[in-house]
Amino acid sequence: MPLDNVVFWVFAPISIASAIGMLLMRNAIHAALFLVVNFFCLAVFYLILDAPFLFAVQIIVYAGAIMVLFLFVIMLLGVDRDESLLERLRGQRVIGVTLGVGIAIELIVAIRAGIGFATKGAETFDTVANKGGNAVALSRVLFRQYFFPFEVTSVLLIVASIAVMVLASQKRRAITRADAAAAAAAAEREAA
């Protein structure tokens, strides 16, 4: 059995199991940690698919930055309570799982109809598409063919950071109960 096949069959069950674990965990922090495991498995898949640059970006951006942001917000909000299992809409869980399984079956049928289960990738990928190394080849495509979209993403990042500053700078309400108590005490002192 070739090596990449072995690596794939080790990491595919781990990635599916960690995704299901994320789905089943009632505690948000446990769900986030399962998602980190899943992101690492996806990074390994990128490595098998001859995309080492995306492997590094996946670990730095997703497992590094985005998940730290998630965990930071979970800690900030103190959402360490377990989720209630009460269904506000009756049958929501059954219908949701049915729809999800339906999408999975539909996608697998589409894959079978589209490329079949045995198609392999191009043999010359490393010498033709990845010529001169993946990062060099990717930057060649990115800065020639996709230069305008690349610039547009920088505008998007600036807009996002401005939006976050606007959202975060609302000072009308107290953030914590301690702040609320301090504000109430100050108001009382003023009245007296």
Binding site: F8, V57, V73, I74, V79
Partner: protein, 101 residues
């Protein structure tokens, strides 16, 4: 590389469906957001797999762009969740019944 491309696509399809179930079933807004991230990652995997299938790098560039957009989206989404939490003292979507502040 001897693994068929379709195995990656099937893993991607399964991860996408698990993410869909998470969005539909879970109540915690943060966990719903994580499920959306899982769906984005599943689509990224299929983009990279198709890039390998067709022998050019367009799919990888698209996956790269989608990571940038996902980063921006996470930042704005988490800021919105924090803002809503300040108002309602809860992160459960059952408690968000009105859009008015």
């Amino acid at each position: 590389m001897s693994t068929p491309i379709s195995s990656f696509l099937i893993v991607s399809a399964l991860l996408f469906s698990i993410g869909t179930i998470g969005v539909l079933v879970r109540k915690n807004a943060l966990v719903i957001f994580m499920s959306v991230e899982l769906q984005l990652n599943a689509v990224n995997l299929s983009l990279v797999a198709f890039s390998r299938l067709h022998g050019n790098l367009n799919g990888q560039v698209l996956a790269f762009f989608s990571m940038v957009v996902a980063a921006a989206e996470v930042v704005v989404g988490l800021a919105i969740i924090v803002t809503v939490y300040r108002r309602r003292q809860s992160a459960s979507v059952d408690d968000f019944t009105v859009l008015r502040g």
